[in-house]
């Protein structure tokens, strides 16, 4: 908005300097130029949050030491959407203003300054102006592209038919190419010889102006007496009351500012996509595929030079399943210095995961737990892209963290727990509250081993209060109430029913007085909202809860 206001101000002053321009454009020009400058800014900024590798690098690098700055990166998707909405609104203003301009160009065709006209003759049909000039035609195409992109980007479409959103959103490249051409039309011009032909000067249309003396000129052209105090010509010339034009005005098209605005981010984004393409071109080697209860499949793989931090996610691309689709999955196990294996847990929901599972686990052996190694020859080629950052990485940087998982949402925290199992000392975290809520008791078996190992490790190192595990079974049919015979530690921490969040928050506040507790939630939206609200409430122990929000579609 600020850019629009300042631009409007500067345009009005420019407009007043170039009087002939005013007669053609008037308000329509100001509005269209102002909205154009807002569009310039937004079209350049909107690409930046989509450079996900760059953002992941910034999140992990030492150059961003402040937690507050890192939390800004969590909002990158919201920022992208805000820029998109702004582009939409100001495109509307821009188009409306230009439609009015088109009409004015044809009606107020100026014979004095032929170069400044956009119309070729008076009363040219404005529709012809729109469709036969480069700016007009590219503008119309851009509006159509924008219309397609925006109607496919609504929340309802993203949630139900993500494909439509993804494929139409890739039209952004066409939009940028059209934008580059749109401003190259050279419609707006500025005067190059302001010194020899200042605005408001009087042109003497017969002979060269320099030889005529001023008083003669004025006696010819002005019949009213000289104003008082201007009796002498010398005094008159000193005050520069009027200027004489030395030559005809010359105009030159403005350099398209838009190119300067969008070239930087566009190059950055293209570089990022190229880097990601090169990096993901080598397929991974699948080590093992494990089938877990409640429709979950675990894939363990290795890849050369793959490094990831706990909490990050990757996207999987399997051409045998679908040539164009990429699906994001959080890493549940990150590669360490000693072990290069990393893994993801996938819940089988939807056609892509179903087909993927059928390729990896032939239906005959889907009931058994682990597949024999011989089958690895038949695994399809799998490509990964990433790793990309997420707010869950921050949980290791708080002294006390509360991690709440709903169902399969436990995956980001699984990688955190795996990292703690490996070595917990380098991180700032000193106490972790881990709450996992599931509907089906079999779901706990996904990470039951990990939780037990972690529990035992901390008991042996005499830090029993490092990890506090609470498991909740939200729906029970009363049949089975234990996870498994060997998981003693977990069975005693299993509760039936939903957690009572207020009590939990009060308890954590009481035992961590005056500290800042990081709250992380991966689960349904309603859960996220509840926790967010509770985190923002005050408590009597002086504990601050900082909610770190992750946004999925």
């Amino acid at each position: 908005m600020l850019s629009a206001v300042t631009d409007l101000g500067s345009i009005e002053s420019t407009v007043s300097k170039n009087l002939p321009v005013v007669s053609i454009h008037q308000l329509g020009l100001c509005l269209s130029r102002a909205s154009a400058s807002v569009l310039n800014l937004n079209c350049s900024l909107i690409l930046l949050p989509m450079c996900r590798t760059l953002l992941a690098y910034l999140r992990g690098s030492q150059k961003v030491p402040s937690r507050r700055t890192r939390r800004l990166l969590d909002k990158s998707r919201t920022f992208h959407i805000t820029c998109g909405v702004t582009i939409c609104i100001f495109s509307g203003v821009h188009v409306a203003a230009h439609l009015v301009n088109a009409l004015n160009f044809s009606v107020n065709y100026s014979e004095d300054f032929v170069e400044l006209n956009a119309a070729r003759y008076r009363d040219e049909d404005p529709r012809k102006l729109l469709f036969t000039t480069v700016p007009g035609l590219t503008g119309v195409c851009m509006v159509v592209v924008l219309f397609l992109m925006i109607t496919a980007s609504t929340y309802a479409i993203r949630v139900s038919n993500y494909d439509i959103f993804w494929y139409t959103h890739n039209l952004f490249f066409v939009f940028y190419m059209l934008l580059t051409l749109h401003v190259s039309g050279g419609l707006l011009k500025y005067q190059t010889n302001l010194d020899t032909h200042p605005p408001g000067c009087i042109s003497l249309n017969r002979t060269s102006s320099q030889n005529i003396s001023l008083p003669e000129y004025f006696s010819e052209h002005f019949h009213e007496p000289f104003p008082e105090g201007f009796s002498k010509p010398a005094e008159f010339t000193q005050h520069k009351f009027v200027k004489i034009c030395m030559e005809e005005p010359r105009f030159q098209a403005n350099f398209p500012q838009t190119w300067l605005w969008i070239s930087g981010p566009l190059c950055l984004y293209c570089a990022e996509r190229l880097y990601r393409y090169i990096r993901s071109n080598k397929p991974v080697t699948i080590i093992s595929v494990i089938s877990h209860p409640s429709d979950v499949m675990e894939i363990r793989m290795v890849k050369e030079n793959f490094k990831a931090r706990p909490g990050q996610y990757i996207t999987l691309h399997c051409p045998s399943v679908s040539a164009l689709e990429n699906h994001p999955f959080t890493l549940t196990m990150c590669p360490t210095e000693t072990k290069a294996t990393f893994g993801v847990h996938l819940k089988i929901v939807g056609d892509w995961t179903e087909r993927f599972r059928d390729l990896l686990l032939p239906p005959s052996s889907q009931d058994s737990e682990i597949l024999p190694f011989i089958q690895s020859r038949n695994y399809p080629k799998l490509y990964i892209d990433g790793p990309f950052g997420s707010p869950f990485e921050e949980s290791l940087n708080y002294e006390v963290s509360l991690c709440v998982a709903g169902g399969i949402g436990v995956t980001p925290f699984a990688s955190i727990l795996n990292t703690l199992l490996d070595d917990w000392k380098p991180y700032k975290l000193r106490r972790l509250y881990f709450i996992w809520v599931c509907r089906d008791i079999q779901s706990f078996r996904w990470f039951a081993d990990l939780l037990c190992m972690l529990h035992n490790k901390f008991w042996q190192e005499n830090r029993p209060d490092y990890v506090n595990i609470q498991l909740y079974l939200s729906q029970t049919d009363g049949i089975q109430k234990i996870i498994g015979e060997k998981y003693h530690a977990l069975n005693s921490r299993l509760f039936i029913g939903r957690p009572r969040w207020k009590l939990l928050f009060d308890e954590i506040a009481k035992y961590n007085r005056g500290k800042t507790v990081g709250v992380f939630c991966c689960g349904p939206n309603s859960l996220s909202k509840t926790l967010h609200k509770l985190s923002n409430q005050n408590n009597s122990y002086g504990t601050r809860f900082e909610y770190n929000k992750e946004s999925f579609s």
Partner: protein
Amino acid sequence: MGQIEWAMWANEQALASGLILITGGIVATAGRFTQWYFGAYSIVAGVFVCLLEYPRGKRKKGSTMERWGQKYMTAVVKLFGPFTRNYYVRAVLHLLLSVPAGFLLATILGTACLAIASGIYLLCPAGGCAWRAVDAHRAQAPGAA
């Protein structure tokens, strides 16, 4: 990819086109351009399209996100039976409605957008998709764990 419900996208497009038609119509009528009566037509057509497309149809699979307050219009749209249920009828209707707005510069964008929406409606497989009203009694939402 074969599972894409094009009708949902066409619905969003038609709603947006209706709004564009209304805006263009207001600009044309307020500015009293030549042939401003096309602008007036455009406003009326835009309002009609918006009202028709406001209630979102029920999805084939999965839960449908309703628009706020759509149940009032759902009752009205249901009254017209096959005329509003069939997406081909809607496609043809939108195409016809968009043509008169194409004569005026201010509303020409509305024409283009509505024509595109009409085209997308034609992508629906025959007999496969139809507009079905979302019932007032909704199934139990997939609850929080």
